[in-house]
């Protein structure tokens, strides 16, 4: 505390002869050994921190080689009223035809991602992993699943084939009953 500038006693009668330019403290005195070392350690710590972050980033791949989420499910006319499990083992999708049209449910339980099975006699999907039950609409009626099954985007090609895109999903009642998640058929 000794090298702090002492406050000058102000005397209003005597005008200051010349204002002394304030010298920044850092320039007034060379950096102390302790400060220098602390700065060094802090920079080293920052370097290690940044290295750790960079290493973590390294673990996130930029390009992944996974199958396309879009597929051709054949002619829309080929589906009768009810749940079709035709594409389940290849594309993990149920194609469901009702009186109004067609929608596609992504067969991934919203609880922890197992594939449920369709039980036609009880009119529900049941998951084999933790016992979640869904209606044909995809709504949860029993078990731990936190939200309804996802519906995938359904389009019809110029040839009349169903084109299903599992990368575009919707599960909110009201939205999921409209295009592109529902294909109205005459």
């Amino acid at each position: 505390m000794t090298d702090e500038p002492k406050p000058q006693p102000t005397n209003p009668a005597v005008a200051p002869a010349k204002p002394v330019a304030a010298v920044p403290a850092a320039l007034a005195k060379p950096i102390s050994r302790a400060d220098f070392l602390w700065t060094g350690w802090a920079m080293l710590a920052a370097f290690f921190g940044a290295s750790a972050a960079a290493t973590a980033r390294f673990m996130f791949p930029n390009v992944i080689y996974e199958p396309s989420q879009k597929f051709n499910a054949g002619p829309a006319k080929g589906y009768d009223i009810g749940v079709s499990t035709k594409w389940l083992s290849e594309q993990r999708v149920w194609i469901i035809r009702n009186e109004k049209g067609i929608y596609a449910l992504w067969a991934r339980c919203t609880h922890l991602g197992c594939t449920p099975n369709w039980w036609g006699d009880q009119n529900r999907f049941k998951c084999p992993c933790h016992g979640s039950n869904y209606t044909i609409e995809g709504d949860v009626i029993a078990g731990p699943a936190p939200r309804p099954l996802w519906r995938a985007k359904v389009e019809i090609s110029t040839k009349g084939d169903l084109i299903i895109d599992k990368a575009v999903l919707e599960d909110i009642p009201g939205k999921r009953e409209n295009a592109p998640y529902f294909l109205t058929l005459a």
């Binding site: 992944i64 991602g113 933790h130």
Partner: protein
């Protein structure tokens, strides 16, 4: 013809040779205490032992050798694992075929795989039993707190090694266990794309913690490679480092926590302890051999990422967790609870201030600690038993004597107690709640807070018999009222309420009130938080199994469902 040397002469010749003496130092072995000490000190492997050890620490019935047995199994796993690596290639196209080759085309391949599989399961049992035995002997207390915590980490890593190894055969068992396991990571609050508040901070399917584990958005080629590297290199390396720390600490903390007696006998570690270690390791190896010749490791059909076997079950030591996932949202059962178990176990030595019962089995002196810990361990194994023996197709409840071919009626519809869309009546239709959130948040929050602090605030010790009878009577009264009410709740459900409600009262209120109300607030609150999260599991199980309650309180906007 020159005379042949006798066996004795030959032995002397070999031992006195420059080669032998350079490898095994020291003069002629006279089996003096000095020789025995020098043998421990002069050997890099053996010097993790002390030179002398108290006799009572060596009794089988004191430790059952469980720590040593766990380590012996780890060594068996290392050797068999390295051998398996010579034939196994971690790619989707080859992994399953290589396992099949190990089974049918490679001499002793099946035996090696069996031994690796069974030793892994035995090690899980060994490590858990080791932990229970250390706990019951109070051997985690000062000055061994930190070593207990390292032990908890080793238990966690043992389970993680099992989990990563589970994927490698690339069969149906593998892919679905790992799909479920990694989706739990995806439900982590903030860090997972399906977890509470995950979307708020920008977690997506291609940047969250699950994505890192999988190396993609689904269990695929990258996942297999990542799990392979973790299983064979990264995690064993960490386990090895922690094991050295663990052993070093044991040696520094005078090897055994057994209480001192005046003028106690000490014996040399060589041969008394080392001999026992060799016997235990040899017995482990023998048991693993016999087990592996007798039983084959399971292998299902090749993995299909689109179709799940029905039912699909986790490896047995995780089935308890799987059963928990039936009652709780993934972020609670899959992230918060395992986290609480690990952190809670590590915290035990720091919250248990009872100076009694260090180094010996002492039920009467450590009633609260032992009861609470054993309640947790028992629940873990009861949940495993339920998941393993009482769950059938669609993970539905099947009694062990019921055929899985029998199709069960659909499970009843579930409802929520507090949440949006309140209907102001009990037993509503699915996705609807009986009462609104503005009522539920203060009620549930208040009840939680009260259970947390009340045992400490009540200064006078409660009369156990009166309190128990009072609560049982009250619960019975509720059960009867529910039966007589227009809801006609069956008496069986009433009995569920009585049993589980009483357990919550006894373990979550009466015992803490009795034993830990004098603890300082910090330790008290941590202990109570752990105790209450245990008994809350019982309450939630009762709510789901007997009353079809899905959530006690649900705030969908935050994905916050309890």
């Amino acid at each position: 013809m020159p005379k042949l040397p006798t066996l004795e002469e030959l032995k002397k010749e070999v031992i006195d040779s420059q080669i032998w003496r350079s490898v095994f130092r020291g003069g002629v072995w006279k089996d003096t205490p000095r020789d025995r000490s020098a043998h421990i000190i002069g050997n890099v492997w053996l010097h993790l032992h002390p030179v002398r050890v108290r006799k009572r620490a060596l009794e089988w019935t004191y430790t059952w050798g469980l720590g040593g047995i766990s380590f012996a199994l780890f060594m068996i796993l290392t050797v068999t694992g390295v051998l398996l690596m010579f034939y196994y290639r971690p790619t989707i196209d080859l992994a399953y075929r290589d396992i099949k080759d190990l089974e049918y085309a490679i001499t002793l391949g099946k035996l090696m795989r069996n031994m690796h599989r069974w030793a892994a399961q035995a090690m899980v049992v060994g490590v858990i039993a080791h932990m229970v035995s250390v706990f019951l002997r109070g051997a985690y207390k000062k000055p061994r707190e930190f070593n207990w915590s390292i032990g908890v980490l080793l238990l966690t890593l043992t389970l993680f090694l099992s989990f990563t190894g589970y994927l490698l055969p690339w069969d149906q068992l593998a892919i679905w266990a790992v799909t479920v396991g990694t989706n739990m990571a995806g439900a982590t609050p903030l860090l997972g794309n399906e977890g509470p508040m995950g979307n708020l901070v920008g977690a997506h399917i291609n940047n969250d913690v699950r994505f890192v584990l999988l190396g993609g958005t689904m269990v695929g080629e990258n996942t297999l490679l990542r799990f392979y590297v973790m299983h064979c290199v990264a995690v064993p390396l960490v386990v090895g480092i922690l094991l050295i720390l663990h052993f070093w600490r044991i040696r520094k903390d005078s090897f055994s926590a057994a209480p001192y007696e005046p003028n106690e006998d000490k014996v040399e570690v060589w041969p008394h302890l080392v001999k026992r270690e060799y016997i235990a390791a040899a017995a482990c190896l023998l048991v693993m051999f016999i087990w592996s010749i007798w039983m084959n490791a399971p292998l299902e059909v090749i993995a299909n990422p689109n179709v799940t076997p029905n039912p699909s079950k986790a490896p047995w030591y995780f089935v308890g967790l799987q059963e928990l996932l039936v009652y709780f949202d993934p972020w609670i059962a899959g992230v918060v609870m395992p986290g609480l178990i690990i952190v809670g176990l590590m915290a035990i030595p720091y919250i248990d201030t009872n100076p009694k019962g260090v180094g010996y089995y002492a039920w009467s002196e450590r009633k609260f600690a032992n009861t609470g810990f054993m309640l947790g361990v028992t629940m873990w194994f009861v949940l495993i038993a339920i998941g393993y023996w009482f769950r059938g197709p669609n993970f539905f409840w099947y009694w062990p004597w019921e055929s899985w071919l029998m199709i069960k009626a659909a499970p009843p519809l579930t409802w929520n107690v507090f949440g949006p869309n309140a209907t102001w009546r009990l037993w509503c239709t699915p996705n609807l709640s009986a009462f609104p959130l503005w009522l539920g948040i203060p009620l549930v929050g208040g009840a939680g807070l009260a259970s947390l602090v009340l045992p400490k605030l009540i200064q006078k010790e409660l009369d156990g018999i009166k309190a128990n009878l009072g609560v049982l009577g009250g619960l019975a009264l509720i059960a009867v009222i529910m039966k007589l009410s227009p809801l006609h709740v069956s008496l069986v459900k009433g009995a569920w309420l009585i049993v589980f409600g009483w357990m919550h009262f006894y373990f979550g209120f009466l015992l803490p009130q009795r034993h830990i109300r004098a603890l300082d607030w910090a330790r008290y609150l941590v202990t109570m938080a752990l105790v209450l999260s245990t008994t809350a599991v019982l309450l939630k199980m009762c709510a789901r199994l007997a009353f079809d309650i899905k959530y006690v309180i649900t705030i969908p906007a935050l994905s916050m469902n309890i």
